[in-house]
């Protein structure tokens, strides 16, 4: 019997069968590859946190070094209260600050460092970063920024070490209440304690970085003040 491949019933059954087969296939592949791809995402996030602490281990050493350095990942709220003693690492990037604020407590050469994750808007898409502070809760120990889709060669330079190293040793805010920020490259820095050189041609991306830093430092302010009082 020759099938009539143009009949309505044949077409509908054909479409259903194809979709079911494809759905099973994709579900199978997805669950088979779940473990390695989740591990990759985890290692990537750990690598970024370590990068803010000026540590750049090889991919194979990321997990062991992260375990060594990061001693706790509590979640705090905007009032500075600890909401949860751990689990900060699992907070999804889009949920940071609404209202969960993860803090990574790290030990490097016997000194305590606090790494604060932050998320903001660049010119084309999301930007994010990790700001590592010394235990005085004022001085920047290191910084890491990355982005989804900033312009290559301009805004994308925020992910480069040259830009990030500018932040080392700066204060997060000065006595006049100016927050840590990036200013136009080469212009006179009126508050050199809190200002870093920007990137020429990437004003909008660096504006996004500024907004992100001040937004999140405001949110973490109470937590940092509490830590300062306990010094």
């Amino acid at each position: 019997m020759k099938l009539n491949t143009n009949s309505n019933i044949y077409t509908i059954i054909y479409a259903c069968v194809v979709v079911v087969i494809v759905a099973f296939l994709l579900a199978f592949v997805s669950s088979a590859l779940k473990a390695p791809s989740e591990a990759n995402e985890r290692i990537d996030q750990q690598k970024q946190i370590l990068a803010s602490l000026n540590l750049k281990p090889e991919k194979a050493q990321v997990e062991s070094q992260y375990k060594q350095v990061v001693v706790a990942d509590p979640i705090v709220d905007t009032l500075g209260n600890v909401v949860s003693e751990s689990g900060g690492f699992k907070v999804k990037r889009k949920d940071i600050g609404k209202p969960q604020l993860p803090v990574y407590v790290c030990q490097i050469n016997g000194e305590t460092k606090y790494v604060l994750p932050m998320v903001g808007k660049g010119l084309w898409g999301t930007i994010w970063g990790y700001l590592a502070l010394n235990d005085d809760c004022e001085t920047v120990y290191g910084a890491y920024f990355s982005h989804e889709s900033e312009t290559a060669g301009l805004g994308a330079l925020i992910a480069e070490a040259d830009f990030q190293s500018e932040f080392k040793g700066k204060k997060i805010h000065d006595a006049e209440g100016n927050y840590l920020s990036v200013v136009k490259f080469g212009s006179k820095q009126e508050h050199p304690e809190v200002q870093c050189d920007g990137i020429s041609g990437a004003t909008l991306t660096t504006n996004g970085v500024n907004a992100m830093i001040s937004d999140y430092l405001k949110m973490y302010k109470n937590f940092l003040n509490k830590k300062k009082q306990n010094l």
Partner: protein, 209 residues
């Protein structure tokens, strides 16, 4: 064996590399060719991904070509391509995470690459699986080698490296050489692609546009 690689079949495999190149002659798949070629590594991975997907979607469509209802053939082709692209994207995420981050949305956008739909509709629907497989490999590689050429030029002139290894010696920078930041932008990729097409047509005068 000799039948598998008969003169006709060799022609199917090699024509897309040169005289019937999807990018240079048919001007298909330009969008991704511009977007992922800022560095060599993503260009190579993208080229290979497209080759694998074109070849296997061609084979699958060719095997089931006689059963596909004519009215929904484009949809069936899309479903097959989309499934393969999703699989490739999951494999990349699991085994080549850094590259998959660099390629970002462009892996998913292989689905909309005109080369694939073009080959399925124009070739796989009318030919046997083996010929379709060769056609897919040929067209994929025809796409890939252009990406590799553009990716290599852009990475070399834009960042002074190839596959991440420094090529331009430090001495050149000390002497005043500067990386061309323009090369890392898609606009230069378009200009480079234009140059490649221009040179190709100048060399092969017999190709009709």
């Amino acid at each position: 064996m000799s039948q598998l690689f008969s003169k006709d079949n060799r022609q199917i495999l090699t024509a897309p590399l040169n005289g019937d190149n999807p990018i240079m002659i048919q001007i298909l798949g330009i969008c991704s060719a511009l977007a992922v070629t800022a560095q060599l590594e993503p260009a190579i991975v993208m080229g290979l991904s497209v080759t694998v997907i074109t070849a296997f979607s061609n084979v699958i469509i060719s095997i089931i070509r006689k059963t596909i209802p004519n009215r929904i053939r484009i949809i069936i082709q899309l479903v097959v391509v989309a499934a393969l692209v999703t699989v490739v994207s999951m494999v990349l995420k699991a085994f080549a995470y850094d590259v998959s981050v660099k390629l970002s949305v462009y892996v998913g956008l292989i689905i909309t690459n005109c080369i694939l739909m073009g080959r399925l509709e124009a070739f796989a629907m009318m030919n046997k699986p083996w010929e379709s497989f060769l056609d897919g490999i040929g067209n994929g590689l025809g796409y890939a080698w252009i990406l590799v050429v553009i990716g290599a030029v852009r990475e070399l002139l834009g960042s002074g490296t190839l596959l991440g290894y420094t090529i331009i010696p430090q001495g050149a920078y000390d002497a005043g050489y500067v990386n061309n930041g323009m090369m890392t932008m898609p606009a230069m990729a378009l200009i480079l692609l234009g140059i490649v097409i221009g040179v190709h047509r100048a060399v092969n005068k017999d190709i009709k546009s």
